[in-house]
Amino acid sequence: MKISFLKIISAFLILFTILIFFLALFVDKRYSTETIVGKQIDNFEIKFLLSNRTFKKNDLSKDQYHLINIWASWCLPCKKEHPTLMNLKKEKNLSLIGINFKDKKLNASGFLKELGNPYDISLIDKNGTSSIMFGVYGVPESILIDKKHNIVLKFIGPLSTKDYKTILKLINEK
């Protein structure tokens, strides 16, 4: 009796393991953004790009959505998503906050002069540490925050046309 019990247990364990392996083959293994989505945004304090004042969490308005975009002049995909950002600038329900990431001030303002400035608020994160607040992996990344300052969406990499439509749909709801 005891031996057959052992056999059943081991057969079960083997089958279970193989089943998990099988399921794991089809699980999406890309970086997930779930950990940060849905949470209140933490307190932060980041310097403005062009002045020495700082921008804090409390300075975020309560009647608009915010899109925090992390960018750099040395980042090629940022150039690619730039037209999308310029389009988003036209939206009334959305305030764009650009955080310049590990960049030189001169290059950053050059970039904005050349291609146009989509941001309502421009901030600078010289050593990349402030962006850790938003769970940043690299540039570009964008985080959509609702009126209650909860993180609704996070985009890793340049914003696509599909992302653009998702954002429009979300901010114009109700």
Binding site: T35, I36, N127, I132, G135, Y137, G138
Partner: protein
């Protein structure tokens, strides 16, 4: 008996618990953090830009007097538990921490079983 006494003495002497860790808190934390954009490297090992940034953040936090646990909590809130190499001790991970010792225990019992047969 004299020997036994000596052995206990020396053991006690040399086991003097020393709390002073040889590696700095900083390095210890770096080693326990995964560089999530790298291939299986820790923050301590990685040359990537991301690792440099995390290093600055951790140093800042240590400077502000935060302890190890607070730093891990902060980072895992931002990046998920995946960033920490030492799995947290919670319900989901309890099987991970216990099962090796269960195997050890069962194995010991099994061997012991073969001893006892003889006495019957």
């Amino acid at each position: 008996m004299k020997n036994n006494f000596l052995i206990i003495l020396i053991c006690l002497f040399s086991f003097e618990l020393s709390a002073n860790e040889n590696i700095s808190l900083e390095t210890k934390i770096f080693k326990n953090l995964r560089c999530i954009i790298c291939q299986g490297q820790s923050i301590a090992e990685s040359n990537s830009d991301f690792a440099q940034t995390i290093k600055i953040v951790v140093r800042d936090k240590i400077g502000q007097g935060e302890n190890e646990k607070e730093i891990y909590e902060f980072l895992s809130e931002k990046y998920g538990e995946w960033i920490i190499y030492r799995p947290k001790f919670n319900f989901v991970n309890s099987f991970l921490w216990f099962s090796p010792y269960i195997v050890l225990l069962l194995g010991g019992l099994l061997i012991f079983k073969y001893f006892r047969k003889r006495k019957q």
